[in-house]
C-alpha cells in the first residue's frame, strides 16, 4: 500500500513535469493577436499589438503607443522592454508583431535577417561623455581611440586636468557599445573599465567619478552633470548628425516578420507620420529619421 502511494506520487510528479514542459514549448505563438480586421484604410482599427525589444526605444514607442491608443480606442498596444536581442528573437519566432532593436538584425547572430522587414523609426546620436571637471570639450578621433584603448591614461596628456582616466563601458552585447566602437573608435576594442548598462547609471557614474569617460546618447547630455565631447571639432548636435558630419549615430529599428500588415503596419505608419517624427521623436531626445540627409546600411557604409 505504501509503495503504491509512493509510486502514484511519482507518477503525478512526472505527469505534471511533462505537462509543464509541453506548455513551455507550446505557447510561443499565443500572443499573435487578432489584428487581421484592419486592412482597409477607412475601417476603424481594432485588436491588439504586442511590441518588445530595445529598452532604449521603450519610452519613445510607449509614448507613441499611448497617443495611438487615444486615437484608436479599440486598439490595445503593449510595449515591453527586454533588450534588442529579445526583441529580434521574439519577432523572428512570431511571438510579438514588432521587435525593436538598436542594431541591424544582420549584426546579431542567429537572426534570419532576410525574413524581417526593417523600419527605421528614429536615429540616435551618441558621443563620448566626460566628467565636467576634466576640462576639455573637444577630442580628435585618434585621441579618443587612444583614450579608450588605454594608451592615454591621464587627461593632462590631452590638455585637461591632472586626472587618471576611468573608462565606463557598456556590456559586450550592448547596441550602444557596438555603435560607439564601430563609428567612434573605428572598431578598436575598448580596454577594461567599469561596465554598466543603463544610460542613467552610466551618467551618474561619469558625474561622480573624477576623470571618468563613457558614451551616452544625446538625450542624456541635457544638463551640466556630464559633458558631451565634440569629435574632431564637430559638435554633437542633431543637425550635425542629420547632415552626416557627426559620425556616431545609429538607427532605432522596428522589425516586423515579413511585410508589415494590419495593425503592425498601421502602428509603424503612425510612428513614421509627421505627428510623431516632428513632435514625439525630438521631445524624447531622438532625431527624426525622416530628416536624415544621409543613410547607412547594415555594414556601416554611408550613402
Amino acid at each position: 500500500m505504501k509503495n503504491l502511494k509512493k509510486f502514484g506520487l511519482l507518477m503525478m510528479v512526472a505527469m505534471i513535469v511533462a505537462f509543464a514542459a509541453a506548455c513551455g514549448n507550446g505557447n510561443n505563438s499565443a500572443s499573435d493577436g487578432d489584428n487581421k480586421s484592419s486592412d482597409g484604410g477607412n475601417k476603424e482599427l481594432s485588436g491588439s499589438l504586442v511590441i518588445s525589444g530595445s529598452s532604449a526605444m521603450q519610452p519613445l514607442v510607449a509614448a507613441a503607443a499611448e497617443q495611438f491608443m487615444n486615437d484608436n480606442p479599440s486598439v490595445d498596444v503593449q510595449v515591453n522592454a527586454g533588450g534588442s536581442g529579445t526583441g529580434l528573437s521574439q519577432v523572428s519566432e512570431g511571438s510579438v508583431q514588432i521587435g525593436n532593436s538598436d542594431v541591424f538584425a544582420e549584426e546579431k547572430d542567429g537572426i534570419p535577417a532576410d525574413k524581417l522587414e526593417d523600419h527605421k523609426v528614429a536615429v540616435v546620436g551618441m558621443t563620448a561623455a566626460i566628467n565636467p571637471k576634466v576640462g576639455i570639450d573637444n577630442i580628435s578621433k585618434e585621441d579618443l581611440i587612444k583614450v579608450f584603448t588605454g594608451k592615454i591614461t591621464n587627461w593632462k596628456e590631452l590638455g585637461g586636468a591632472d586626472q587618471k582616466i576611468t573608462l565606463v563601458n557598456r556590456p559586450d552585447s550592448s547596441g550602444t557599445r557596438a555603435t560607439f566602437v564601430k563609428f567612434g573608435l573605428d572598431g578598436a576594442t575598448p580596454a577594461e573599465g567599469i561596465t554598466e548598462d543603463a544610460n542613467n547609471t552610466v551618467k551618474k557614474i561619469i558625474n561622480e567619478t573624477p576623470g571618468a569617460i563613457g558614451y551616452l546618447a544625446f538625450s542624456y547630455l541635457n544638463d551640466d552633470k556630464v559633458k558631451g565631447l565634440s569629435i574632431d571639432g564637430v559638435k554633437p548636435t542633431d543637425e550635425n548628425v542629420q547632415s552626416g558630419k557627426f559620425p556616431i549615430w545609429a538607427y532605432e529599428h522596428s522589425y516586423t516578420k515579413g511585410k508589415a500588415d494590419g495593425l503592425a503596419k498601421a502602428f509603424i505608419d503612425y510612428m513614421m507620420s509627421d505627428k510623431v517624427q516632428n513632435d514625439l521623436v525630438p521631445n524624447q531626445g531622438y532625431i527624426a529619421s525622416s530628416k536624415m540627409k544621409v543613410e547607412r546600411d547594415a555594414k556601416g557604409n554611408m550613402k
Binding site: 533588450g83 536581442g85 542567429g110 567599469i194
Partner: protein, 305 residues
C-alpha cells in the same frame, strides 16, 4: 419523484460529503506540494538543457569555460571563459559572509544571552527592517554613498570587490541574525543552568557551552546567507564595476556570474553562443545552490540537540 428523502439516503449523502471534505483537503495540500516539486524539477530540467547547449550545440569547451579568464564573445576569435565571473561570485560571497557572520552571530548572542528583553525588542525589528528593502535600493545607496566613500578614504575607483562585499554583507545580515537567534534561543535552559552551576561565568557559558551546542545551526545560518549572496545580482551589479579582468586586490573592479547575466541576456539573441553561455552561467548558479542546500542538510543532520 419521492416527496421525502429516505433516511438512508440522507445519511449516505452526509457521510459522503464528509468524505469529500476530507478528500478535498488532502487533495489540495498534496496538489500544492506537487506543484512546488514540479516547478523545481522543471526549472532544473529547463536550465539543465539550456545550460548544456553551449557545450553540446555550439562546441564551447567546458573546461575552457570553467578555467579560462578570457571572455570575449564578440571577437573574431571568441573566448568563452567564465573564470573571472566564477571567481568574482565566490570572492564576494565568501568575503561578505566573513563580514556578516560575526556581526550576525554576535547580534544573536546579544539578543538571546546578554539582553534578551530589551535587546530583542530593539534589535529584532531593526534587523527585520533590512529584509524589506529592495536590492536595487541597496545598490543605489551603495553607488551613491559607499562608492565615493571608498574612493576618497580607502582608494581605488570605489567600484570593486570591497564595495560589493559591504553591500552584500548588509543584505545577508538579517538572514544570518534571524536564524542564529532562533538557534540560540531554542537551546535547552538546562545547558545554561548546568554551566552556571559548575561556576562558569556568562562569557564562559556562551563560549564553551552555548556556541558549540548551536554550532550546526549557526553554520546553517551562514550558509543560507552565502546562498543569498551568491545569487544576488542587482545590488552587486551597481557597485562592483563589472570588468572582465581578474581582480588583483580587494579594491579592484570585478564581475560576478549574476551581473554578467543581467547585463547581457536582454541584448543577446536566443540560441546564439553568447546567450547559451549565459544560460550555462545560470546552470552554475543552480548547481551551486544545490551545493549550498546539500551543505545545509549535512550540517543540520549533525545537530545533536
Amino acid at each position: 419523484m419521492e416527496k421525502t428523502v429516505p433516511a438512508s439516503k440522507r445519511l449516505m449523502k452526509s457521510s459522503k460529503s464528509r468524505m469529500n471534505g476530507e478528500f478535498t483537503g488532502r487533495l489540495l495540500v498534496t496538489l500544492c506540494a506537487l506543484i512546488m516539486i514540479a516547478a523545481t524539477v522543471s526549472i532544473t530540467i529547463f536550465l539543465g538543457t539550456k545550460g548544456l547547449q553551449a557545450f553540446i550545440k555550439n562546441g564551447v569547451n567546458p573546461i575552457e569555460f570553467l578555467t579560462s579568464a578570457n571572455w570575449n564573445p564578440l571577437k573574431e576569435k571568441p573566448g568563452y571563459g567564465a573564470l573571472t565571473f566564477i571567481f568574482g561570485s565566490f570572492a564576494v560571497t565568501l568575503l561578505s559572509a566573513l563580514v556578516a557572520a560575526p556581526l550576525g552571530i554576535g547580534g544573536a548572542i546579544f539578543m538571546t544571552e546578554i539582553a534578551p528583553s530589551w535587546g530583542r525588542k530593539v534589535l529584532q525589528p531593526v534587523i527585520e527592517l533590512l529584509v524589506g528593502i529592495p536590492s536595487v535600493v541597496y545598490g543605489f545607496i551603495g553607488l551613491t554613498v559607499l562608492v565615493p566613500f571608498v574612493r576618497h578614504h580607502i582608494g581605488g575607483l570605489g567600484f570593486g570587490l570591497l564595495t560589493g562585499t559591504v553591500v552584500l554583507a548588509v543584505m545577508i545580515l538579517p538572514t544570518i541574525t534571524t536564524i542564529a537567534t532562533d538557534a540560540m534561543s531554542t537551546l535547552p535552559k538546562n545547558l545554561r543552568e548546568g554551566s552556571y552551576a559548575l561556576g562558569a561565568t556568562r562569557w564562559q557559558t556562551i563560549r564553551k557551552v552555548l556556541i558549540p551546542a548551536a554550532l550546526p545551526s549557526l553554520l546553517t545560518a551562514i550558509v543560507l546567507g552565502m546562498a543569498r549572496a551568491f545569487g544576488e545580482a542587482l545590488a552587486v551589479q551597481m557597485v562592483i564595476g563589472n570588468s572582465r579582468d581578474l581582480p588583483s586586490s580587494i579594491l579592484d573592479t570585478a564581475a560576478t556570474l549574476t551581473t554578467i547575466i543581467t547585463l547581457n541576456i536582454g541584448n543577446t539573441t536566443y540560441g546564439s553562443v553568447e546567450n547559451n553561455t549565459l544560460w550555462s552561467m545560470g546552470l552554475i548558479l543552480l548547481i551551486m545552490s544545490f551545493g549550498f542546500i546539500l551543505l545545509i542538510r549535512y550540517l543540520s543532520s549533525r545537530r545533536k540537540l
